[in-house]
Symmetry: C2
DNA sequence: CTGTTAGCGCCTTCAG
DNA sequence: CTGAAGGCGCTAACAG
């Protein structure tokens, strides 16, 4: 009676095979699987047995063609994503999707090669039930290109006009960090930015500018351009070292930049936090293992992913009451050893 | 004449719409797209125009159902993957797949919950043309479970019986590192392991054991259990510190463990490399930014992914001459500041 | 409750 | 070179 899936090269069993094996119609098989309560127990069991015997799995393509969901979500990322940050966001997404029987396709958007066409093709090929756009993608693809195909779309870590998005309170958090540093005596700040087109970076910079605008008589805020990568953090440190009047507080737009910055600064004999305080952004694992441990603004990475996926599934399911607008998660300021009182000084 | 895709809510155009719009049969449309040379230029152009006008994209589900490829590859990973390592492998995979018009599904395998069924379901649902299994998955899912569905399968960073796999020369490289350390005076080594069931870890440990077996009169090799994570590296450091006779050379099975190890050791007043030399494995970006910079065995992460994807596509395309067996890529020993001469000592 | 039937959109013979 | 027609596997009406 056992005999799982005959020989080997046979093509997989179809619903017809199951129907014959169980002595019922294909419709009954379909129902026994999708709506068991509509099938008399006796038949249902025969079907279930046949399914097991033959090792039958519904063909997803056929299901999709017939009009049902594909249970596939396209997740669009940039080729140059920050692994420590987004890997955990992906985990969050996957966790929520898997729990609901969905799977994710990873679609890397290459900024250099004009590959967007490829993506839009995919989106219109009817393969997916929805799209999740991760930070940066919005600006890169101009946002509406992603909306155009008419698929349910949720944006994570950046906002696309008229599209539900999941964000963190980046502006508030970085101001909170600034305020903390101000409180312990710092008056000269520098912001290590991300790419100028990045949504997060804009939010942070705008909030910071507004905050210091109100304090412009007593404080100074500089800005050094970066792009989230360690390399750009090291470059920023060189510029910092070369400056005539060095800031005493660094607000970095990513932990990776902050850590590289500290490394270079220390090498040049600048003490952290004695000479300069450094605050990162993201809360990646390595913030605990660098020297000194990094004060940072921790983003709920897993939750970002989970929440984004959740909202998307809601929309797909048609629970679209609260659709539009943003969901804002809260960050946490984690004080560690890279920040301290401003150095005494004239 | 313009008018891209009507109003908005209409369902997407099908091949029939295109055929009507162009005044030809559906068969001609199909051919014009798949085998243009078989269609008279005049008609071909009419079709191409209609395609553009309507914004037509072939429906992937229908194509797949009709028997063609889905151009979808399932990439199976573990829920607890090491982001710094695998993110780059994924990039390599994506790069090769995208270049050939394929996309990847990320299937996280959860070790805790028995979720494998879900995966096998997916594999048999006829959605994919092939499967890429990343390190660790093989052992977890017992390998053959993945082979069973009869899909083309390639394993990366671990070997599955009778399945093509892409590996690095881990054994040779770690022995090379050991040899280097031996050459500069070290005689007491400790290996920080990964999970005991991990394929890579086994390869490394076996090679190391063999190497030291031949030197057992003059050398000592200890082993501390870890699992690749920083946390376990820190725990290993505690054990190291507590040991009566401390080894002078640490061979870590991951950079993340090595970095955490150094952090804890330094905190306890142990100098790296003055008192103990530390060598990592993987060559992640942070190896350059920790203190001191980490000597490590760099794995060609991007190439691992790219090569794995390449082999899989070859198999799918039927170029299966060189199918079985392994492809071995070479690692590079990167000497940095965390290793040095063994301390003088009785 | 269960079976019959009609397509979903596409590609690929098979005739013309 | 082009058109007509069947069917991939499945499910949702519609009858019984």
């Amino acid at each position: 009676m056992a005999s799982v899936r005959g020989g080997s090269r046979d093509k997989p069993p179809s619903i017809v095979d199951v129907a014959q094996h169980a002595g019922v119609s294909t419709a009954t098989v379909s129902r026994a699987l999708a709506a068991p309560e509509q099938v008399r127990p006796a038949l249902r069991e025969r079907v279930e047995m046949a399914v097991r015997d033959l090792g039958y799995r519904p063909n997803a393509a056929a299901q999709r063609l017939r009009g049902r969901r594909s249970r596939l979500i396209l997740v669009v990322t940039l080729t140059r994503w920050s692994a420590p940050f987004f890997a955990e966001v992906l985990n969050g997404i996957d966790s929520e999707l898997a729990a609901n029987g969905y799977a994710m396709i990873l679609g890397n958007l290459d900024l250099d090669r004009r590959q967007d066409g490829h993506l839009v093709d995919m989106m219109q090929s009817g393969r997916f039930d929805g799209v999740l756009a991760l930070a940066g993608v919005a600006n890169a693809a101009n946002g509406h290109e992603l909306k155009e195909p008419g698929l349910p779309l949720v944006s994570i870590c950046s906002e696309i006009q008229g599209t539900p998005s999941v964000l963190t309170d980046e502006g508030e958090s970085i101001v909170e960090a600034a305020e903390h540093l101000f409180g312990i005596g710092h008056r000269h700040f520098v912001y290590l930015s991300g790419p100028a087109t990045n949504f997060s970076d804009r939010s942070r910079w705008d909030a910071l500018k507004a905050y210091f605008e109100a304090k412009k008589d007593e404080c100074r805020l500089d800005r050094i351009e970066g792009d989230f990568t360690p390399r750009s953090g090291a470059a920023a440190a060189e510029r910092f070292l070369a400056s005539l009047e060095r800031p005493t507080a660094v607000l970095s737009s990513s932990d990776e930049m902050a850590i590289a910055f500290m490394k270079v600064a220390k090498h040049a004999g600048v003490h952290v936090p004695g000479d300069v305080s450094v605050c990162g952004f993201d809360g990646i694992d390595f913030a605990d293992y660098c020297e000194p441990t990094l004060t940072t603004i921790r983003q709920p990475r897993f939750e970002l992913g989970r929440t984004g996926a959740y909202r998307l599934l809601q929309i797909i399911a048609g629970h679209s009451e609260v659709d539009a607008g943003r969901t804002v998660l809260r960050n946490t300021l984690c004080l560690r050893d890279s920040t301290g009182r401003a150095p005494r000084h004239g």
